[in-house]
């Protein structure tokens, strides 16, 4: 449904995207993950026909995007990463304008979404908070019921409750057979919805993996508090990768081997387990290193 072939676009600064290729199948939710400035938005701009590829090609529904811009956009819901609407409009007049430009005839879907996100459409846009503006963007993107969604950092600015509403919306649309390409800099933000994930770094695709595979590759660190000092020492001898923090607490690195982790720990009396929140950067770095070492 979405095909990117050897897409390259280098800016005068030397940054850009280099030989990016991937496919998104119909009905799939594809995550596009990378740190800020890694080329996610540049790739999406090519998919929207805002930029002409220096080399390579982007196809949506077998149509070259640059050559058939407005025809291709017909079926796309695009949420730009940068929230910037027109000055001096209310949420309502902006939505009216966009609905008119989208050629949407029915107002029902829009009303549903406004209800879902609890948006006050009478507020002037310039008085809205970042999260509220993001809601306007999301409603605009979803209200004309497109087949393909291209979402650039969709949950930025949304509170956890609204993030959940958004994720449920994506899952609902996915169940209806819609196709998604979601860019993000944070894995937890998109892992609940995505089937596959591409990781991009400095304009190059590092890997494309099934989400389950990626989970098994992701390293997690647990802090385990034992009741007895001897148990700590016993565990230090085990085959898990373990560091001692103090007499009762150890840190265990897990990467996919959860069964072994649980089997070993089940033999001991444990007072507490907590998981370190690993930043994406950390996960990435870990992941990149492994990629470079492996043949």
């Amino acid at each position: 449904m979405i095909i990117i072939k050897n897409l390259t676009h280098v800016f005068s600064t030397g940054k850009g995207i280099f030989d990016v290729s991937f496919k998104v199948e119909k009905g799939e939710v594809f995550g596009f993950l990378g740190p800020n400035g890694s080329g996610k938005t540049t790739t999406l701009r090519h998919l929207m026909g805002y930029m002409k590829p220096q080399s390579g090609q982007t196809l949506i529904n077998n149509l070259d995007v640059w050559e058939n811009q407005s025809k291709v956009r017909h079926n796309i819901g695009y949420l730009p990463g940068e929230i910037s609407f027109l000055d001096g409009l209310t949420g309502e007049s902006f939505l009216n304008m966009m609905a008119g430009m989208q050629g949407a005839s029915s107002k029902a879907r829009r009303e549903e979404l406004i209800e879902l996100f609890q948006l006050d459409i009478k507020t002037p846009i310039r008085k809205m908070s970042k999260g509220t503006k993001q809601k306007v963007g999301i409603i605009t993107t979803f209200m004309h019921d497109p087949d393909i969604y291209l979402l650039d950092e969709p949950t930025s600015g949304l509170d956890p409750l609204m993030q959940k509403v958004f994720i449920d919306l994506v899952l609902e649309e996915k169940a209806r057979g819609k196709t998604f390409l979601i860019s993000s800099h944070s894995l937890p933000e998109i892992e609940r919805t995505c089937d596959r994930i591409a990781i991009i770094k400095e304009g190059k695709i590092v890997t494309i993996k099934d989400i389950h595979e990626l989970h098994s590759l992701q390293r997690k660190t647990f802090n385990v508090t034992f009741a007895k000092k001897e148990d700590v020492n016993a565990l230090l001898e085990s085959e898990l990768s373990v560091w001692k923090i103090d007499d009762f607490i150890i840190q265990i690195d897990i990467q996919g081997n959860y069964d072994k982790f649980l089997t070993i720990l089940s033999k001991y009396h444990i007072k507490n387990i907590s998981m370190d929140d690993m930043s994406l950067e950390h996960t990435f770095m870990d992941y990149y290193k492994r990629e470079e070492v492996s043949p």
Binding site: Y50, K71, S84, S93, M101, T140, T141
Partner: protein, 269 residues
């Protein structure tokens, strides 16, 4: 052209269009109501004008003040009108494209089936509508106040006044053409504004210098403003057709190039 976009764009730019339109209309109204006083003392004023340096008279576009058209051409259309409409045309041209690209809101407008060409055409329509509204307000104000205050049969020449406004509209139609073209070329609103403003100001300056320094009168050929001489329109000495055709051509070329360039360029949205 997208009607939904046109409607909202007119709404967004309503304040800008009306503040300039009303400002222009009030100025014309004020000047018009002063005319009967001038007319009563015409003889003395004409005598006084004789002692003015000729260069200054040329620069200000004073031909004579004997008719309303000549008076209003000198008092408004030769100077303030050019400033007011110049600022308006450049500001709105930059707002309609370059600012939307700079701020990123163009990403939303371009996220629908409406093509780049359709968006440019819509913005051109907004620009021309704005110019039309301002000129209609200005013309109506001049006409109404002339009707109310001037001994109509004596001095108010409807056709002259209409031509002054019409050719003025076409002048800014042309200035809008190259300003919008510049607007489509830049990612940065400020750069677009500087270039469009700079070019227009240079045109004005060249025209002024050519008028004051008679020896280098020829440099006025390089300025659009030399084709708009409201004083001469009032006295019937201007070549209306030539000016109008050149303005229309420049405008149309500018607008067509805007559509073409905006369709082809990379947008950092």
């Amino acid at each position: 052209m997208s009607l939904s976009l046109y409607k909202q764009m007119m709404k967004v730019n309503f304040k800008l269009i009306f503040s300039f339109g009303v400002g222009s209309a009030i100025y014309v109204a004020l000047m018009t109501t002063l005319f009967p006083m001038i007319e009563d003392n015409m003889q003395q004023i004409d005598e006084m004008l004789v002692i003015f340096p000729e260069a200054l008279m040329r620069a200000l576009g004073f031909e004579s003040l004997s008719t309303y058209s000549q008076y209003i051409a000198a008092e408004y259309y030769g100077l303030f009108y050019l400033f007011i409409l110049g600022v308006f045309t450049i500001v709105i041209s930059i707002h309609l494209i370059a600012r939307l690209v700079d701020q990123g809101s163009m990403a939303y407008l371009l996220s629908t089936r409406v093509s780049r060409a359709q968006i440019t055409v819509t913005q051109i329509a907004v620009l021309i509508s704005g110019l039309l509204i301002i000129h209609i307000l200005t013309f109506a104000s001049g006409y109404i106040f002339a009707e109310l205050t001037i001994d109509y049969e004596n001095s108010f020449a409807f056709l002259d006044f209409f031509q002054i406004n019409l050719v003025g509209f076409l002048l800014f139609f042309a200035i809008g053409g190259y300003s919008l073209l510049i607007s489509t070329l830049f990612n940065d609103e400020k750069n677009a504004f500087s270039l469009a403003g700079g070019i227009t100001f240079a045109f004005y300056g060249i025209d002024m210098i050519g008028k004051i320094v008679v020896d280098i009168d020829w440099i006025r050929n390089f300025s659009l403003f030399s084709l708009y001489e409201p004083g001469k329109i009032a006295s019937g000495d201007a070549n209306l057709w030539l000016s109008s055709i050149i303005f229309i051509l420049i405008g149309i070329i500018g607008y067509l190039l805007s559509i073409f360039i905006f369709k082809k360029r990379n947008l950092l949205l």
